[in-house]
Amino acid sequence: MNAASYSKAAGPGEGFVERHFKAFTLGPAIFVLLLIGLFPLVYSLLVSFQNITMSEQNTSFSGFIHYARLFQDTRLWQAVLHTAIFTLIALPIELVLGLMMAQLFLDRMPGRQIFVALLVLPTVVSPIVAGATWSLMFDNRFGPINQIVGWFAGQPMPLLWTIKPTLVYPAILVCEVWQWTPFMFLILLAALSNVDQSQLEAAEIDGAGFWRTFFKVVLPAIWPVMAVAIFIRALDLARLFDIIWALTRGGPGTMTETISIYSYTIGFQQFETSYTAAVAFLVIVLLSVIVTIALKRVGITR
């Protein structure tokens, strides 16, 4: 491309764009991003100092009453606990299962692509559809799960998976693990495939066994990618909403309520506007801090 074609192509508005190229490219995106990046933070803070509930529309400054309430709200801290339980159980299972599956498909295997393409399908299903699917699967009379359990038990097993307190956690975890193990599998398979072969051969010559090779050579090699996968999944689990909405809606009672489900309930069903704003503000601030720290450690920025 030469100077002649430049002068020919340059339109009348081009000089303006050229002079403010940086503002022109960055500006619009940043402006739209502020809608989710700044506005919620500021507006939540503002509303949380007012006193807006279903019966009251008091927009004058009400002090820290809603923040004081946060500390006495056992249901909120229960929800935090539930979210932590789901994360701490689901994440290791997904990680280990995903790793084992990746190991299975690592060596040469004709037709591997087809298996991989099929296995990732659960991950791309909408989480709400995944939850709906499993709620049909878990149905006590017409679902196949109880039928299969019945085969092993030798008698009909009309288990109430989404209602019985001892069964709701396993039910939600099964759905969660089913949907996201393929995610771990796919990423870890790619990471394992990129491990330096010569290092593996060197370890073999040194007579290192499978586990020793795994911990000394493979794990350090795949760790950067694995850390990102764990990071993404942990943050997804922290916001767990869809599959619980489809399976239990936080029930029985408030047994499976996560932070997201609880926030939705107080905000959109009990209309505790100011209090919900306080919760939202707290969640945004806390997670921003966690994410900022984690981003530095995970080294996702390259």
Binding site: M1, T25, V129, S260
Partner: protein
């Protein structure tokens, strides 16, 4: 001897792989099968595993009642927001990648916006939209999806642009091209596979979203994910409709993801793995 052993191990791996695939695909199979069953087959004890004949009545009902509008709404909302987010996001990504605008801090801030729980973000947005009268409007929903997808687009496109050798752009600048021309005629065409892959995944994220649509739509802009949950009743669920609507929403995703198989790892790992 070792050849026999390696064949045996390969056979065992095939068996394990097949078993795993059946296990993971069974729920999807079950969902799809329900949509072809008659009411008698859906509500039978023990459950019917294979419908006697595939009938499309459950889908026909959705079309007759106009429920498929929800799929159309999903398409409009996800499609428009994807186009807008791709346009704004790629410009921004180019600046981040090439001019190092804002440095790592800005890039980190942008990606961190994707990590905040949607419920905390959508609540104040909802209050704003009520005030503006934007609840249950296409514009309002599209704007939020655009904003929420922007971090992903910027992040992914920044990675794809950084993969392009910078020399081409530099020589184009030396030849007298304006920055805008370099962007349009050199960088964009070079990054087109990345653009395409990112657009597809952005679309899928918006298409599959539930929580924003749940909060911000009522009747006019109801997306398919929200429509599915409408079929859950207190006492009885409309199984046929749940499954048929879910299949209508899931099948397009399966098709585009199958087509994008090569870019899938990079797309879902936020660029941590370059497939």
């Amino acid at each position: 001897m070792s050849a026999v052993r390696s064949y045996r191990s390969l056979a065992l791996r095939y068996i394990a792989a097949t078993a795993l695939t059946i296990l993971f695909l069974f729920p999807i199979y079950w969902l799809f099968m329900i949509s072809f069953k008659t009411p008698d087959e859906i509500y039978s004890v023990p459950p019917t595993w294979v419908p006697a004949n595939f009938q499309f009545k459950n889908y026909a009902v959705l079309f007759q009642d106009g429920d498929v509008t929800a799929v159309w709404n999903s398409f409009v909302v996800a499609g428009t927001s994807t186009v807008v987010a791709m346009f704004l996001g790629t410009l921004c990504a180019y600046s981040l990648a090439r001019s190092r605008s804002g440095g790592a801090a800005l890039a980190n801030w942008i990606i961190s916006q994707r990590m905040i729980p949607p419920i905390a973000v959508v609540f104040p947005i909802f209050l704003l939209y009520v005030w503006l009268g934007w609840v249950d409007t296409y514009g309002g929903v599209i704007l939020l999806y655009t904003a929420f997808n922007l971090p992903y687009v910027i992040w992914m496109m920044r990675g794809y642009i950084m993969d392009i050798p910078i020399e081409l752009e530099e020589s184009a600048l030396v030849d007298g091209c304006t920055q805008w021309q370099v962007l349009r005629r050199v960088a964009f065409p070079m990054a087109r596979t990345g653009l395409f892959a990112t657009a597809i995944f952005t679309f899928v994220f918006a298409w599959n979203d539930f929580i924003f649509a749940l909060v911000l739509t009522r009747t006019e802009v109801t997306t398919y994910t929200v429509q599915v949950t409408h079929y859950f009743g207190g006492q009885s669920n409309f199984w046929a409709k749940i499954s048929a609507m879910s299949v209508l929403g899931t099948l397009p995703v399966f098709i585009v993801v199958a087509a994008m198989q090569r870019y899938l790892v990079r797309g879902i790992s936020l660029g941590a793995v370059k497939g």
